[in-house]
């Protein structure tokens, strides 16, 4: 009998719909733990988790840390700034040194696509990808799926449009893989300069106008416009972007049906999303944050202790 998930969680592209559903089914009952007076279960007692963050993160890092602590794991946070990483130590050396101190799991965020995969192949510990470059951010994808599934029961045949900077977004990639595996129809909408050239090959519909997306979709996942993109010439100005692609109350009021609004945060209010919408009745943005902790607890629970041997066996079945 092989482990259902294998050793690592690197992305949603390689997971089966059964594996994704297993994570969501496990996350569902775990939400209750965060409502208790004592928000802690002893499941991962004695396990050590290192949060290795080479890129800035507030929400994801805190969410992982809550998840780890609520499962009773011991946690250590390593940020790139102020560590020997800033002295030029390589990723593998950093990880091997940590492993020599007997750790069990590594949660890694890194600016390079494929960093989590690279690490997973070289260390014994379980590796969880918390965002690698523009590749994937699987736990964000999973928490988005959980949020939608809670509202709809099933994603089969539902329409989700991912809006904004799809080109640079690992959230978009994880969402596209996950949504399609669970049977949803996926579209993207944004300026052509911020959509990947080969976006059509991912099997998604492309909308050039936000109005079309709103007419089509059951849910919008509004991505953060990474402000540094404007300086590099991808869009003319923030005001222009808001005028053409901003999700505003006026636009939503013209929708033929109620649309769920998601945003992975941090939000640029008044740029990609208006405050009226972010705080409005259709917003599930704070549900996403709550679900994030539960999904990460589920991933920790399902991966903990899975050995590389099991991972190899799991790969053989894919």
């Amino acid at each position: 009998m092989t482990s259902p998930l294998g050793k690592d969680l690197l992305g949603l592209e390689r997971l089966t719909s059964e594996q994704i559903s297993l994570i969501l089914d496990t996350a569902e009952p775990l939400r209750e733990i965060s409502e208790r007076a004592i928000k802690k279960v002893p499941t991962l007692r004695g396990a050590t988790v290192v949060n290795l963050f080479f890129e800035a993160s507030t929400r994801t890092r805190i969410s992982f840390e809550f998840a780890e602590k609520r499962m009773s794991a011991d946690t250590v946070n390593v940020a790139a700034a102020g560590s020997s990483i800033s002295k030029g130590e390589t990723l593998v050396d950093t990880a091997r040194n940590l492993e020599a101190m007997k750790i069990d799991m590594v949660v890694i965020r890194h600016g390079s696509s494929g960093a989590a995969h690279f690490l997973a192949e070289r260390i014994q510990s379980n590796v969880i990808n918390a965002g690698d470059g523009t590749h994937e951010h699987p736990t964000q994808g999973l928490l988005d799926l959980l949020t939608l599934r809670q509202r709809w029961g099933s994603l089969q045949g539902r329409r989700v449009c991912i809006c904004g900077d799809v080109l640079h977004s690992r959230v978009a990639r994880s969402n596209i893989w996950g949504l399609k595996k669970l049977g949803a129809e996926v579209a993207v909408c944004g300026p052509r300069s911020l959509l990947p050239n080969a976006v059509g090959e991912m099997g998604v519909t492309v909308f050039d106008r936000i109005e079309q997306a709103i007419e089509w979709a059951d849910a919008l996942n509004v991505l953060r416009l990474q402000l540094e993109r404007m300086e590099s010439g991808y869009i003319p100005s923030l005001r222009e972007y808001n005028r053409v692609f901003g999700v505003t109350r006026e636009r939503l009021e013209r929708a033929p049906k109620d649309i769920l609004i998601m945003h992975p945060g941090p939000m640029n209010r008044g740029v990609e999303i208006d405050s009226d919408v972010a705080d409005g009745p259709h917003s599930v943005i704070l549900d996403q944050v709550t679900n994030g902790v539960a999904v990460r607890m589920a991933v920790l629970y399902l991966l903990a202790g899975n050995s590389p041997k099991l991972a190899d066996a799991a790969k053989g079945t894919v």
């Binding site: 009998m1 092989t2 482990s3 259902p4 089914d25 496990t26 569902e28 009952p29 775990l30 209750e32 733990i33 208790r36 007076a37 004592i38 802690k40 279960v41 002893p42 499941t43 499962m71 629970y301 399902l302 202790g305």
Partner: protein
């Protein structure tokens, strides 16, 4: 090497047993004040529900019910193969000062009850905790004893006791499958 199967409680007998257990629980508590039934997932939850129905019929009181899933408190998670599925835990309101009765179908090693006690402690401090089980099959590995028992039956290691409930299994029945004979 065939399994020896015998029905130790049929549907009627199980109903009588649950009624008696309900009476004993109310008697021990001197009424229904502060009483709370907490079933262990999955069959214990249904047994607790049945007992609560009997109490409602006799006493005219809806006893508070809860459900515990003890998976995350198991002491063998490091050794079991694929991770067991986690079920729902639901403890309504507070358990502080309550008389909580943990309800399960079969009591064997006592490890499940140990886990349930630990989990319960994370929700608060009950005035008293009791244990009610449909079948006590012996074979304890921890110092845990039930307060209310439907039926005692000594089943050696390797044997099985199954409590079937209509809600999950389509029938009410308690079956003992003996250890395979050499």
């Amino acid at each position: 090497m065939a399994d020896l199967q015998s029905v130790i409680l049929n549907a009627r007998a199980l109903e009588r047993t649950l009624s008696r257990m309900a009476d004993e629980i109310v008697e021990r508590n001197d009424g229904t004040d502060g009483l709370m039934l907490v079933g262990i997932q999955r069959r214990g939850v249904h047994v607790a529900e049945r007992i609560a129905r009997v109490i409602a019929a006799r006493e005219g009181v809806e006893v508070t019910r809860g459900a515990l899933d003890i998976t995350l408190y198991r002491d063998d998670l490091q050794t079991v193969g694929p991770r067991p599925v986690v079920g729902r835990t639901e403890i309504p309101g507070t358990i502080d000062g309550k008389h909580v009765i943990i309800v399960d179908d079969v009591l064997y090693t006592g490890r499940t009850v140990r886990a349930a006690l630990n989990e319960l402690a994370d929700f608060g401090r009950p005035a008293r905790v009791g244990l009610a089980v449909v079948v006590d099959r012996g074979g304890r590995e921890l110092p845990i004893q039930p307060d209310v028992v439907g039926k005692h039956v000594e089943v050696p290691a390797g044997g099985r006791v199954d409590v079937f409930v209509t809600e999950l299994d389509g029938r009410d029945e308690v079956v003992v499958a003996g250890a395979p004979r050499a």
